[in-house]
Amino acid sequence: MKHFTNFSRAVAAGALAVAMSTAAMAADGLNLPNLTYRTGPFAGTGTPIMNGQRDYMLMLNERDGGIGGVPINYVECETGYNTNKGVECYEKTKGEALVTQPWSTGITLQVLPRTNVDRIPILAPGYGFSPMSDGNTFAWAFNPPVSYWDGAYMILDYISDGDMTSLKGKKIVLLHLDHPFGKEPLPLLEKLAEMHDFKLVPIPVGLKEMQNQSAQWLQIRRERPDNVIMWGWGAMNAGAITEAVKTRYPMENFLGVWWSGSDADLQNVGAKAKGYKSISFNAPGNFPVMEDIRKHVVSKGNSMIKSEADLDTVFYQRGIVISLYLAEGVKTAQDHFGEKNINAEQLRWGLENLNITEARLEELGMKGMVPPLKTSCDNHTGHAGGWMLEWNGEAFVQASDLLVPDRDLIRPLELQKAADYADNNAPWPGRGDLACN
């Protein structure tokens, strides 16, 4: 009992210390919260990304004293990828926050209208609602460097070897999570199917069926599609890849979105999944920035990774890239406004005026890790493109040159869906009082 009492006191003291330090941190510095999902059915996707995001911010604090000399307060709020908890986390963290990172299409759609009122930018790299690209409608939302529609286009571009007319008469299955995220590419894929006369067969996977997709893969066996495109998240990915191996579906014809390309999902089947591909906006490799993370974070025991091998995975490095966009947004705002302690509105401007050139990437030790990116008032995505990665049995390797989306094709659809959203949520503020400069 005595030990238990001592333990309780120690826990209480620790909790108080954490609370005090959090309060102190909230008082000054750059408050950049993250609505993480390290728990629940989707933790397999979330954990390595969150580790990468966190370690990049810790590295900036250790190496540079933060951004522009101002320390970063990187605070995580756990959502378990649950929309209700995500909204709670948004409300809990928005007080001092310069940004919100909702980390789920469902949460993004829920907090999207609130951010206009709260005047906090949403940063949703590689996820969220594709029409968020239209900055004139969604002034506070950003989804660099590519949207889901960009991803769907790039996958079809790769399958057709750059000539989509060759898809005529083919059958393509979209195996997707039955969730707002999984349905996101459908408008563009349906449009492309109509334009190029191929048959699109959407096959949904329910949340309870993620690990038992035998019915979905029986349908794929019956349909005999030329290609299967996977829009999966979390446990759905490993489930689908296992079933694909079991069904003996040709792996070279099986491709996934960037969230379906985690090393951990493929390790379950290893060499049997050789040839599986995933589009990605970051290419894995041993870039100079990784050395800084090893030196300033991992070697000091401050990382949450389980082993150093995690540093080489696609998802960990994607976390780094995502924090890079946020850090560059902060820096752009600091430089423009001549203030170190910026506010949320200034960060919004920074994210709207990102210009991450090849030279800047080289300076950051990330040349070749991610394509250059430029955002603007009416382009909150940047549409930088990505590479096709291929599983070689042990790891993902780059399997294509840079693929870029066809903006002329996608842009009208984005504008139309953005206008539909604004009409359905009238009165929608659009840019409101925000000037474009």
Partner: protein, 327 residues
């Protein structure tokens, strides 16, 4: 007219036109059904002996599988051989499940003896929350690979060519079916032939009468929770071998709810037959009716609708006991 054809004619035409495919559908349904039965068995055993609906059964599957994989990866560097590590990790995991059963009995059930059923049910929700937090704290949330080969589970496939087509049976699915059969038969023999088994059944029939003849409530509860832990471990191994070990396995436990509605909460044979029936029917419905008529994903609701229809006619489930209480 076209809809009528899709509902009444086309499914049967397809079954006859592609009989090898139909056999594959039946096999996949059987495998799913056997695995649903395993999860449902864990619920039934605990309910039978203590009238508690154990909400924690799903997370026990995750916790058991994570313990096995975690202990194995911890031991491999020390013993240098994955098979030896698995041989040590397995009894250690069983030990953890026994310790969990002891802990649940001492810290949760014993202080709540005599409380209304709803209190005990809420307590199992508390156990779920604890195991989620503790499991994530110890093992992390990342996907892990089940130690299939180290456990000696075959990973190949058996191919048949019936009706000039092909039928593929994954050896690990065959293993799952065989293991489930062995587990169920052992359990039935234990419940019907051993003194402890009879004591569990006696408690299920009448708590007060069982206590009056000297049956120890706490011993039986520890035993039952331990058996539920063993079933959870077996379920975790076979599900984990299919798609990795993660907290998503917990969701699979919800698939056992319609099985329990159908089979009855107190019937071991109900859990087995109900599980297999739901596994087969939901798969056949999804492939031949669900996908053409509803665009697929009917497995999320089919089993519940089917169980509800059965409950309309048999409120106690297919094999549940009809209790008449005189007041």
């Amino acid at each position: 007219m076209e809809t009528l054809y899709t509902v009444l004619i086309d499914p049967f035409v397809q079954m006859f036109a592609m009989p090898d495919f139909f056999l594959q559908v039946l096999w996949e349904g059987l495998v799913s059904g056997v695995l649903y039965s395993l999860i449902a068995l864990g619920f039934v055993l605990i309910f039978k002996s203590s009238r508690i609906f154990n909400f924690a059964q799903g997370i026990m599957v995750v916790f058991a599988a994570l313990s096995l994989v975690g202990l194995h990866s911890f031991l491999v560097p020390y013993v240098g051989n994955q098979f030896v590590a698995a041989a040590i990790a397995m009894p250690l995991t069983l030990g953890i499940m026994y310790a969990l059963a002891m802990g649940v009995e001492r810290m949760v059930l014993r202080p709540l003896v005599g409380q209304p059923d709803i209190i005990l049910f809420m307590a199992t929700i508390g156990i779920t929350m604890f195991l989620i937090g503790f499991g994530e704290f110890v093992f992390g949330g990342e996907n892990k690979v089940m130690i299939t080969e180290a456990l000696g589970i075959p990973t190949g496939a058996i191919e048949f060519t019936p009706f000039d087509g092909f039928l593929l049976l994954e050896e690990k699915d065959v293993f799952a079916v065989v293991m489930a059969i062995v587990l169920v038969v052992s359990l039935l023999v234990f419940l019907n032939k051993s003194a402890m088994g009879r004591a569990i059944r006696a408690l299920g029939d009448d708590h007060t009468a069982a206590l009056s003849v000297g049956i120890s409530l706490s011993t039986i509860w520890v035993l039952v929770w331990f058996i539920a832990g063993v079933i959870a471990l077996a379920t975790g191994i076979v599900w984990g071998a299919r798609a990795g070990v993660s907290f998503a396995l917990e969701v699979i436990a919800y698939k056992a709810l319609p099985v329990l509605m159908l089979g009855g909460l107190e019937s071991v044979s109900g859990a087995i037959i109900g599980g297999i029936a739901i596994g087969l029917l939901e798969k056949i419905f999804e492939i031949y009716w669900g996908q053409p008529l509803f665009g697929g994903n009917t497995e999320t609701w089919f089993a519940f609708i089917f169980a509800l229809i059965v409950l309309l006619f048999r409120p106690q489930g297919l094999f549940g006991e009809k209790i008449i209480e005189r007041v």
